[in-house]
Amino acid sequence: MVQYLMSVWGSEEDLDKPFGGYESEEQMQASFAATGAFNQKLMDQGYFVFANGLDSPKTATVVDGMGDKPVYTDGPYTEAKEFIGGFWVIDVPNLDVALELAAEGSAACLGKVEVRPMHGAE
């Protein structure tokens, strides 16, 4: 089995819109429900490791602990327009299974999903 990070990408602009990038309250609720159902399916199949949504990148703090004293900086690490809005960690047999699940997850949460393998044992 292989673990993959499936990260959901969104834009900063979307986050400031009334429904966080969704077209309407109804669409947002429907997407939450679909994502919940998808998570449940992952658990039932034994693929689920962890999943969660992230708060705005504006709430992030960057820490550099490599010097004598840690340095704290307000804001995200990169000033990118696109950022990770949420993620899953799954444990599946191979990339084909991961890609299929990512397609379902993307349709449920209405965002593009990046699939990236983790280092680790077979």
Partner: protein
């Protein structure tokens, strides 16, 4: 060429993919399989002239490659479980390929290899490079030369693809039935891209038509046909390639100009390839008539090419049948490029005015063939000034040297107003 050279060339064509595929399954590593296969062929080049060609060259190459791979894994301390297992097995059984149901397992292995090399998670140019290397057995310098990129660039492209396959765990398997049509179509797209680069080279100004690439694409498509004999689109693509290849020598004039289909010397067409292509098209027509699945894009394109190649005189071309086939094609793929090609047939059937009205709606302003077609239709309608402007734009956009030569002559034939 001596008999031994000949045997080595033949073995390379027939056995390379088999050796790489079976080693990849055994060791779970494309890199080890590729290197060991290359070493086995190097040893064959040294040994066969001295020892004679072995009675079963394929088995000899597989055995030799297996031994090299096991030697390498033993030498290197870092190995994964699958490789340890293969070495342990070799310690008990000897290094040779385990013999149980060799034939069917190996046919499957080559399919596995093909689907892995054409996996949708790889970039399109990586799929092409990897397929030519792993399945086709071309060397990195050969592939680099074919696509006019630096050898180091091509080497990196292939290495990066192999690393991704390993790190991301792209499975070495034939896709499940539900995904098969989509994945086969991905494999066929790769083969057609290779063929098209040979058929209408975009960057090579010295060789507008490249027989090495078209023949390689046909060879690989024949292999896919042997592995998936019931797939209609595989048969369709092979037929399409054969019917285009049959006209290769007639497509470029002695002065390096592209020759249009209606002006080609049909006496120089390859009749054997045409007969083979027609037989495949007939086979598919019988399947569809017998209630089989409807034809996909390659089968329809092959049928269109079969209509073109079935008459000895271009004036006898059955344009109504070609328009009907394009109508069918539009139901599969309604892209503007297909509509443009349909309009070219419509011009023959209903005249250039009707065709021009159809293509002016297509919005293909960045596509050279759109302007070349418009230029031709405008010329036939006597609208020389507009025709000249369209030729200018087509020449500006065209990448193939032979095509530029044709368009330039056509433009310069227009009278000055």
């Amino acid at each position: 060429m001596t008999d031994v050279d000949d045997a080595i060339t033949r073995a390379h064509h027939e056995e390379w993919a088999r050796v790489v595929a079976s080693l990849t399954r055994r060791f779970g590593d494309l890199d080890i399989a590729e290197d060991a296969a290359a070493e086995a062929f190097t040893i064959a080049v040294e040994r066969w002239p001295l020892d004679g060609v072995p009675p079963n060259p394929g088995a000899w190459l597989t055995t030799t490659a297996n031994r090299r791979a096991i030697d390498r894994i033993r030498r290197e301390s870092k190995r994964d479980d699958k490789q340890k297992e293969a070495v342990a097995l070799a310690n008990i059984q000897g290094p040779d390929e385990p013999s149980l149901d060799r034939h069917s397992a190996i046919e499957d292995d080559r399919l596995r290899l093909l689907f892995t090399c054409c996996h949708p998670a790889l970039a399109p140019e990586a799929r092409i490079a990897l397929t030519l290397r792993m399945v086709g057995g071309l060397t990195v310098p050969e592939i680099a030369k074919a696509f006019l990129v630096q050898e180091t660039t091509m080497g990196q492209r292939i290495t990066r693809a192999k690393n991704k396959i390993k790190a991301a765990h792209i499975p070495y398997r034939v896709p499940e039935a539900a995904d098969l049509p989509e994945r086969v179509s991905g494999v066929l797209a790769v083969l057609f891209l290779v063929f098209n680069e040979g058929y209408l080279s975009s960057g090579d100004h010295e060789n507008p038509v490249r027989g090495d690439l078209t023949l390689e694409a046909i060879r690989l498509t024949r292999l896919v046909r042997a592995l998936l004999p019931d797939d209609g689109e595989v048969a369709g693509l092979l037929a399409l390639m054969l019917l285009i290849e049959a006209r290769r020598t007639a497509r470029v004039s002695a002065t390096g100009e592209l020759v249009r289909l209606d002006e080609q010397d049909r006496g120089s067409w390859d009749l054997a390839l045409i007969a083979e292509g027609h037989a495949l098209v007939r086979e598919r027509l019988a399947v569809v008539a017998g209630g089989g699945p409807g034809p996909g894009r390659y089968q329809i394109l092959a049928a269109i090419n079969a209509v073109h190649t079935s008459v000895r005189d271009a004036r006898d071309t059955d344009w109504s049948q070609i328009v009907a086939l394009y109508d069918q094609m539009i139901r599969v793929d309604a892209s503007p490029i297909i509509r443009l090609n349909r309009a070219i047939a419509v011009a023959e059937l209903d005249g250039p005015e009707v065709a021009l009205a159809e293509i002016d709606r297509l919005g293909l302003d960045d596509y050279h063939a759109f302007h070349a077609t418009r230029a031709d239709l405008l010329r036939r309608l006597g609208r020389s000034g507009e025709s000249r402007a369209a030729y200018d734009r087509a020449i500006e956009l065209a990448e193939n040297a032979a095509e530029v030569a044709l368009l330039t002559r056509r433009r310069d034939q227009l009278g000055r107003i």
